[in-house]
Amino acid sequence: MSDIDRVVTVPIGPQHPALKEPESFMVDLRGEKIDAVRIRFGYNHRGIEKGCETRSYTQDLYLVERVCGICSFSHSTAFIHAVEEIAGLEVPVRAKYIRTIIGELERIHSHLLWLGVAGHEIGFDTLLMYTWRDREQVMILLARLTGNRVNYGINTYGGVRRDIAPDMMPEILKVVDSLEERTKHYIELAMREQTLIQRLSGVGKLSKEDALFLGTVGPTARASGVDRDARRDDPYLAYPDLEFKVVIDDHCDVYGRTIVRLGELMQTYSILRQLIKKIPDGPITVKAPRRIPEGEAVSRYEAPRGEDVHYVRGNGTEKPERVKVRAPTLANTASVGKMLEDGYLADLPIVVAAIDPCFSCTDRMVGVRESGTESRGAGRKTMTWEEVSRYGVEWHKARGLDFSSLGIPGGIEA
């Protein structure tokens, strides 16, 4: 290739082995370097928000749970918190603890899943196989506790549907012990394996200023030194009774995001031990009305991928007036363009994977199309980062940095 300046456009997605969900990244390449990225969303619309308005609260609970497969419990709990706040339901303490246990187990399985996916994206399939093997322990445990591996269906208005039998507690601890040992191994691996470090560090840089500016949430933000965690800042469930550290890191790259997630796993094990030690006896549910009174509430939940925000407005009937879901990925996608700036094509999969994206959550959340409105092939939505980029450029200019000399308007072309 003598013509080194030739720009090649590579379509990554909507169907592509690097993406677990259908999204489209049009990547302009100069050699191996990324010149510009255009991102399109919207291959997964479901119309959840409108759907919630037309269903009863009981049905909504399961609909919301299916916003996301991996953080199903996060969405259902965030939703149920808002509804319970409107209804003025006081959830029994034991139910709160059980919810926290399930939520933290979900965090374990989500983070281990992420580690495996990250390994796969950088061609380290052995890491994928090992982490998913270990993750299986927590999946089976969740199936035993709740009745399913994902979409646990354990929440119900006013409490939880299933109690955790006393003889299950040692089982949970056994899994926690075993996974803690494995996680220590992975931390060691992440800090020492040369090829892993080479592929992860310095990749997908996102400075603290940018992370704050672009509204990044969750481990992605914490890896850029943003000290935010809804579990500590706006405590819910049993978190006020628990001691844990918010893991932050200053690497600001994919390596930092790995370290943060592994660190969070270690925190989660300690949280689970505390929960099992402290869980009180008592009822697991209070009676909830079918009609939720008029009122509104908004809840924040620290899902494994970042902060989940649910807003619910009740109108005194069996159906909510309005449900609004903000999945963490929507807040994080804005940062992907920034991270890809000046990167390599080879780094694209891991950079995208590093925000632990769940495009289906994102799409479902904004989705409004009900079945029957349109043929399914028309679900094309386009989103570019022009506006965000322009702001980014202006913002940096105001601070004496000019990216326009790179020939990349804000790093991303519209």
Partner: protein, 183 residues
């Protein structure tokens, strides 16, 4: 920071009417403000009080008006929900100068509720497809999908043909005037 203190400060500074401020709990404050007072209040909360997390923007269909709720959070955990409203068809000012990420949230308002956002730059539609009719806003209460049976009620036995629970089933009559491309 204390939610009562914030509430008192907003009360005195903006002389809000009775009932405009509601402390729901230690970390939740709801503020009702009319469109005229909104920019100043929003500016003060973001710049003056340091609420630098925009969780999301919720749009509401309130009949004749559109409601907007800006969910602003502070690092200390307190969340101020600024509620404002404007008649359908009037404009609301964009908050993207404060939060560039609000771009997506505001485009959502435009597409789903038909809001007019002043200061939102040109750009592609989001989240609806480019070929979606401009005057159809699915989250409006009076919007029903054409060709679909009203959903949500207990299903008529044996005939839940095209309910949202079953998105895979083809609609009984796909409206051709929507400019949709065939699947």
């Amino acid at each position: 920071m204390d939610v009562q203190a914030i509430s008192a400060e907003l009360q005195t500074r903006f002389s809000l009417p009775e009932g405009a401020l509601k402390v729901q709990r230690a970390t939740r404050l709801w503020v009702d403000v009319d469109m005229a007072g909104f920019p100043a209040l929003f500016d003060h909360i973001v710049k003056g009080m340091g609420f630098n997390i925009l969780c999301t923007i919720t749009g509401l269909d309130l009949g004749a008006d559109l409601g907007y709720i800006y969910h602003l959070a502070h690092d200390c955990g307190i969340m101020v929900n600024v509620k404002t409203r404007s008649p359908k068809g009037s404009t609301v000012k964009s908050v993207t100068p404060y939060f560039p990420c609000a771009d997506l949230y505001e485009r959502e308002l435009v597409d789903l509720l038909g809001a007019h956002v002043d200061g939102l730059g040109p750009g592609p539609r989001y989240p609806l497809p480019e070929d979606w009719p401009v005057d159809e806003h699915p989250l409006l209460k009076d919007w029903t999908p054409k060709g679909a049976t009203p959903a949500g009620d207990a299903p008529a036995a044996g005939a839940p043909a095209a309910t949202p629970a079953q998105p895979a089933s083809p609609p009984p009559a796909a409206p051709a005037e929507k400019g949709s491309t065939p699947a």
